[in-house]
């Protein structure tokens, strides 16, 4: 693979959060370099607070890196042309509670620049796909967590993206819905879509990812193809990031 096939490219990226007086508070990402190639499912794994979501937000242009370079389709991530090819599923379902499922999708279709007829058709198609066609006219504020997640997933796909960014896609889903999401991701990848996903659920990542990178304290501690790890992803992960010994349970348990 050459560089031109890199859909996402990060080079020595750092992100330091600062307080109101511009004093540094936390370095969330520290010298991270990665590339996501066309057509692959790339998993960004790591424990809570390892910098996964911050990295995703820099790729989306929602956060600016403190140092280093981020490229999305070879362009700066805030370029409208780059974001036209992007679909994003955030970790939490950020939806306007008073809009119906159909209106939510039409709203995001409008932001993606879809024409009215195409938006209508695509909305119906996606609501059918995520199994919400029957409740399309209900405000999403009354939806269960799983249903809201499905609406968010449909919103991420509304603009026919080439790159799908999923932040903890199975978070809060029951086992059936989790399996459906994984099947969907595999199907999208089989159709040539590039997928970048974060997760701390290693079994999920093992099922869907072609390649993974493990982050810890904002740094990459390992990267490679899932099939080449030579052990289960969980064992590999624990070996790289550490086990539960930090909890020091003995004093509490007597």
């Amino acid at each position: 693979m050459n560089d031109s096939e890199d859909i996402v490219r990060l080079e020595s990226v750092e992100k330091t959060f600062r307080d109101f007086w511009l004093r540094p508070t936390v370095k969330a990402v520290d010298g991270l370099s990665l590339s996501v190639r066309k057509g692959e499912v790339f998993g960004l794994l790591g424990p809570n607070g390892s910098g996964k979501s911050t990295t995703i937000k820099m790729i989306l242009g929602l956060l600016s890196p403190s140092a280093g370079d981020v490229r999305l389709f070879g362009l700066p991530p805030r370029a409208i042309e780059a974001r036209r090819k992007l679909g994003y599923l955030p970790e939490l379902s950020y939806l306007h509670p008073f809009l119906t499922a159909k209106e939510t999708l039409r709203y995001y279709a409008g932001l993606c620049g879809l024409k009215s007829g195409e938006a209508k058709e695509r909305t119906a198609q996606l609501l059918e796909m995520v199994g919400l066609a029957d409740v399309a006219g209900r405000p999403v504020g009354g939806f269960s967590k799983g249903m809201a997640r499905r609406v968010s997933l449909a919103s991420a796909l509304i603009g026919r993206p080439e790159l799908l960014v999923l932040d903890e896609p199975t978070s809060g889903l029951d086992p059936v819905s989790t399996k459906e999401v994984k099947t969907l991701v595999k199907a999208l990848a089989a159709n040539g879509m590039t997928v970048l996903t974060t997760s701390h659920l290693l079994a999920d990542a093992e099922d869907i990812c072609d390649r993974v990178m493990i982050l810890d304290h904002g740094k990459s501690v390992a990267e490679g193809r899932v099939s080449e790890l030579g052990t289960s992803l969980e064992d590999f992960f624990l070996a790289k990031v550490g086990d539960a010994s930090e909890f020091r349970l003995a004093p509490f348990l007597g």
Partner: protein
């Protein structure tokens, strides 16, 4: 007194609605993450901010129009009461119905909008605005017939002046609420309010109207010319703040 009350109601409620409407809309979107979701789509950050501010001003016009309709209706009631009193020699007790009709003018458009939204999924703001516009026109027409178009012509520039002022405050509130928490945004907009209040001269304007005078359109024009660069500066500041998010 009715004119004073009507004008002050429009001034105070209008300014407060413009400011708090802007702050609430921006802060709620920023805090719930829907703003972030929108920015992840192929939209220009500045364009999104300006479109949202414009949308807020349109929503504000709904309230301004209903407040105008309510004020006019109260004035109609007061005038009719005065005529009854002059003819019969007794103090007419029509304030209750007058206030009720004034409140109805303010509330009915919102109820109509809510009903259209609830049962037919019409856009709430659009339907409210259309209803408010119709009621404001109906009130103004009734006012013209009963009291004379001259009186309405004297009131109109004052209302226009207040709308310009509200637009200025809404721009400031929108810009500040992108960057600062709600309390800080409200405080900063309050400073803008305090700094610019003397230039509006609400008290003298209301007094002039009460004594049969009027606010000249040339003054409204000058105020608009002064407000445009100020509102423009606040909108530019807002565009800068929205680019800095993250």
């Amino acid at each position: 007194m009715a004119r004073d009350a009507g004008l002050s109601a429009i001034f105070t409620c209008g300014s407060a609605l413009a400011v708090f409407g802007a702050i609430r809309a921006f802060r709620r979107e920023l805090e719930t993450g829907t703003f972030e979701m929108a920015l992840a789509h192929p939209v220009s950050r500045s364009g999104f901010f300006l479109a949202k501010t414009a949308g807020l001003f349109v929503a504000y016009l709904v309230f301004a129009l209903t407040a105008f309709g309510a004020a006019v209706t109260i004035v109609i009631g007061a005038t009719v009461a005065g005529r009854i009193a002059a003819r019969t020699g007794e103090i007419a007790t029509v304030w209750g119905p007058c206030l009720a009709s004034g409140v109805a003018v303010a509330v009915v458009p919102l109820l109509v909008g809510a009903a259209l939204n609830r049962f037919w999924r019409f856009r709430f703001v659009l339907t409210s605005m259309a209803s408010a516009l119709m009621l404001a026109i109906a009130s103004a027409a009734t006012f013209s017939v009963l009291i004379g178009a001259g009186a309405l012509a004297r009131l109109a520039p004052a209302v226009a002046l207040l709308a310009v002022y509200a637009a200025l405050l809404a721009s400031a509130a929108s810009a500040f609420s992108v960057r600062f928490a709600a309390n800080a945004a409200a405080s900063l907009t309050g400073l803008v309010f305090a700094a610019t209040l003397p230039f509006v001269g609400n008290y003298y304007m209301a007094e002039a109207l009460s004594y049969g005078g009027s606010v000249p359109w040339s003054y409204v024009g000058l105020a608009t010319l002064a407000a445009i660069p100020a509102a423009g500066a606040f909108l530019l500041l807002g565009c800068r703040f929205v680019r800095d998010i993250g």
